[in-house]
Amino acid sequence: MNIFGKKKKIVLPVIQGDGQDVKVRCNSCGRLIDYDTLKENYKICPYCGYHFRMSATERISVLADKGTFDELGEPIQSVDVLNFTDTVPYKKRLADLKDTVGLPNAILAGSGKIGGIQCAIGVFAFEFLNGTLGSATGEKLAELIRFAGKNSLPLVVVFSSAGERVQEGIFSLMQVAKTVSALNAYKEKEGSLFISVLTNPVLGGVASIAMAGDVIIAESGSYVGVSGPRISEYVMKRSLPKEAQKVENLMKRGFVDIITDRKGLKDTIIRILKFQNKWGKL
């Protein structure tokens, strides 16, 4: 294998054995990084600042106060409702994911503390079919939103998703309406606060849901928009310049409140939570 030829393609390594001396090549600058150093550095490249993807559990570990995160409700499993087969049967994909990722759907949702403040926390799992929005993911997110409303908690959702899940067809699209409906009910409550965190990437209907945030924070260098490069390339017959979906540019155009790197993210969220007067005590 020529590891130098296609540096862009080399992504995260699977740690083998005791995990010693594992090196990772940066997707952006191409330099070799010691995996332990990378992990300690919030998975940010120490040379160029490139943000590697984080798994949902890694994300929770840097976002929620240690030991405070409790998963919400029963696990909700994705189902192959349309009997869909792409290059692999969707049923098989789901079965494989159960073993490899260990999540029933593409979101990890629960309650936990951030800077000592109790929150409803949702984190999209990009490792589960690119964080796509299937029925189970949509239902879990809606459950989290209802939970936040019922318990008068601030809602913090970290988004990373390639958009709707094609294998679940129309039901995937309907999850956008479902979650927006749940969000509308939450937002109607006085004192509700939805902090939406955009990480790389957030696409399609999931981006529409994310834009409902009362506060929208983006991790630097993330891309947010309607569709990924493949659709524009194959369907629109022209490539969409990546710059158009870069959060730095979206902030200039007025669609993002704050941009921060991953190291500053938790502190930024804590500050925003503290800017809010306590629920019901206004």
Binding site: Q77, D86, F171, A185, M211, G225, I231, A244
Partner: protein, 309 residues
């Protein structure tokens, strides 16, 4: 009329019909034959064939339904922020004497119109126009909303992304969910992805027989899953995008029947059927208090999806 690939067997018959008409010969028998042949073809349409019918340039489009079914239609323009999106026609008129708000995607019947209206793909300003007018209708006019949908999807371009397309879609979708008036949508041709759901959430979703409603177009689905558009027909079959399939999945509320041969051949009949269907749905919806309607609308969307616990 443009014949679709699967209609090719009709080509020779149509030519013969034309010849006989020119020569003043008897055509009754031939016309019967054509009708029979067409019925045979249309009874066997694959889902992707249906997509092709849905895209036929001669099908009536939202602006045609609005102009034919509403009197005194008065178009409203602009999103009050940036511009007026020509791809969204929106305004008020009287439907069988009753004031209503109607909107729909303009697609265009020829290349000139298609360029002008972006083939019915809404820009952020289109979704924002929809959102602001739906809010005004819900608060001030208090009349039913009818939304006609025929769009391949939401506009994707550097400009639309930079102008907040995803945020604009959220605004429009949210406004329709929140509307304190009855909302009926009719998918008359293409119901493509976010662009379609952004203007179609309502109390009733009706589809014409040869329309489609899908999370992505078959081409885009194929590009996502197979990295090429070759599998579009296979993807179309798997997406369950036809009116019949969506009705059986309980995603839509009704089908407005088109004659075999499609709305492109039977424009007036189909426009009339759409009018009749709208009238009967409105009569039912208007009997109920709007608070009850809205409650059930939200319950409907919040219960959408299939999963196991």
């Amino acid at each position: 009329m443009k014949l679709l690939p699967f209609e090719k067997p009709l080509e020779i018959l149509y030519k013969e019909l034309e010849r006989r008409k020119r020569n003043g010969e008897d055509t009754l028998h031939l016309e019967e034959l054509i009708e029979k042949q067409m019925e045979e073809i249309y009874k066997k349409l694959t889902p992707f064939d249906t997509v092709l019918v849905a895209r036929h340039p001669d099908r009536p489009q939202p602006q045609d339904y609005i102009n034919a079914l509403l009197t005194d239609f008065t178009e409203f323009h602009g999103d009050r922020v940036s511009e007026d999106d020509p791809a969204l026609i929106a305004g008020f008129g009287f439907f069988k004497g009753m004031p209503v708000f109607a909107m729909g995607t303009r697609k265009g019947h020829n290349i000139h119109e298609r360029l002008k209206y972006h083939s019915g793909m809404l820009s952020p300003s289109g979704f924002r126009k929809a959102a602001r007018l739906v809010e005004t209708v819900s608060h001030s006019f208090k009349v039913p909303i009818i939304s006609f949908v025929d769009t391949p999807g939401a506009m994707v371009s550097p400009q639309s992304e930079m102008s907040g397309q995803v945020e604009a879609i959220y605004k429009s979708l949210s406004a329709l969910l929140n509307a304190n008036v009855p909302v009926i949508s009719v998918i008359t041709g293409e119901g493509g992805g976010l662009g379609a759901i952004g203007i179609s959430t309502g109390d009733r979703i009706l589809m014409l027989t040869y329309s489609y409603f899908a999370v992505v177009s078959p081409e885009a689905g194929s590009a996502i899953l197979f990295k090429n558009t070759e599998a579009k027909s296979r993807v179309a079959s798997q997406l369950h995008l036809t009116a019949r399939e969506l009705l059986s999945l309980n995603v839509i509320d009704g089908i407005i029947e088109e004659p075999l041969g499609g709305a492109q051949r039977f424009k007036n009949a189909v426009i009339k059927s759409v009018g009749d269907a709208l009238q009967s749905e409105l009569e039912t919806l208007l009997k109920e208090p709007v608070t009850e309607l809205k409650k059930r609308r939200l319950e409907k969307y919040e219960s959408m999806g299939v999963f196991t616990k």
